[in-house]
Symmetry: C2
Subunit: 142 residues, 2 copies
DNA sequence: GTATCTGCAAAACATTTGCAATTCT
DNA sequence: AGAATTGCAAATGTTTTGCAGATAC
């Protein structure tokens, strides 16, 4: 299930349906993820949002993202060492990270469907496919 | 290419062939990775190795693993947030992390071959497939 | 008025860096 | 001796925790 409806009101309904109290900060953080599909870090979210919410703290962003992830309305990516990135698109897809410009792209084609319910006898519930290389923009710059 | 030959001498030849000065610490760290295929963290390697090499420091382990990775004789895994794990098996395979016991298993079957040279126009040079769930040992304990 | 939420400051970790001491040849 | 390596201490960067004040119903 994903957030739908228009703007803040749709997000508010979505959070309430998921049992999450829709505080101002939580609404704005979720809205930010909806409008910025570049898989931002906490730092990026903070630096952008605190322009409009001067009292915002990073602690609140950490708390909120952890809450959202526990409630399965966002996902975190550990595609790069030592930094977490976030997205609110829950549909299964892969990610490509350009080693030149650092951008992360969603990859919808060729994503292998959940291999099996079980692999080697282990029950699989999540999968992440991370691709790395040089993106098309950086390739033509060379 | 992988390390072969017997024990320390094989590793020494391998490092030298790769242009890496085979110091005692480097030999022992590579040997540790060869003998402990559980994808250990720096901390695990340190705690085990410093029993036999009391003067060993974590800095040396970080330096050495970074050197090995730059020279492409080991790989790092960021399957879990905020911690890197290491392995010396360079053959393409996937990884399964059990959310119950925390163990990481190599998955050799069903690993999708490098999808394409390019995806969405981006040139792919690396891929990692991370699976998560409950391993067979933990499943039967329930 | 009571629960919850926020945000500051400090703590907790993982990793990197600067540099002096050590080792190897 | 000279070059490379090691390891201590300090710095860096990210995330978590404790708690007091603010907010919401």
């Amino acid at each position: 299930m994903e957030a739908n409806g228009t703007g803040i009101d749709g997000i508010k309904r979505y959070l309430m349906k998921e049992g999450i109290n829709p505080s101002y900060q939580r609404l704005k953080i979720f809205e930010y993820l909806q409008n910025h599909r570049v898989h931002p870090t906490v730092d990026i979210i903070y630096n952008d949002l605190c322009k409009h919410i001067p009292t915002l703290s990073k602690t609140t962003i950490y708390n909120t993202l952890n809450l959202f992830e526990q409630r399965d309305i966002i996902k975190s990516l550990s595609i790069e060492k030592n930094e977490l990135r976030y997205e609110c698109d829950l549909r299964p897809h892969a990610h490509f990270k350009c080693k030149s410009c650092g951008n992360i792209f969603d990859i919808w084609q060729e994503f292998p469907r959940m291999i099996q319910q079980t692999v080697d006898g282990h029950r699989v519930t999540e999968q992440q496919l991370y691709l790395k290389g040089v993106c098309k923009n950086c390739s033509q710059d060379l």
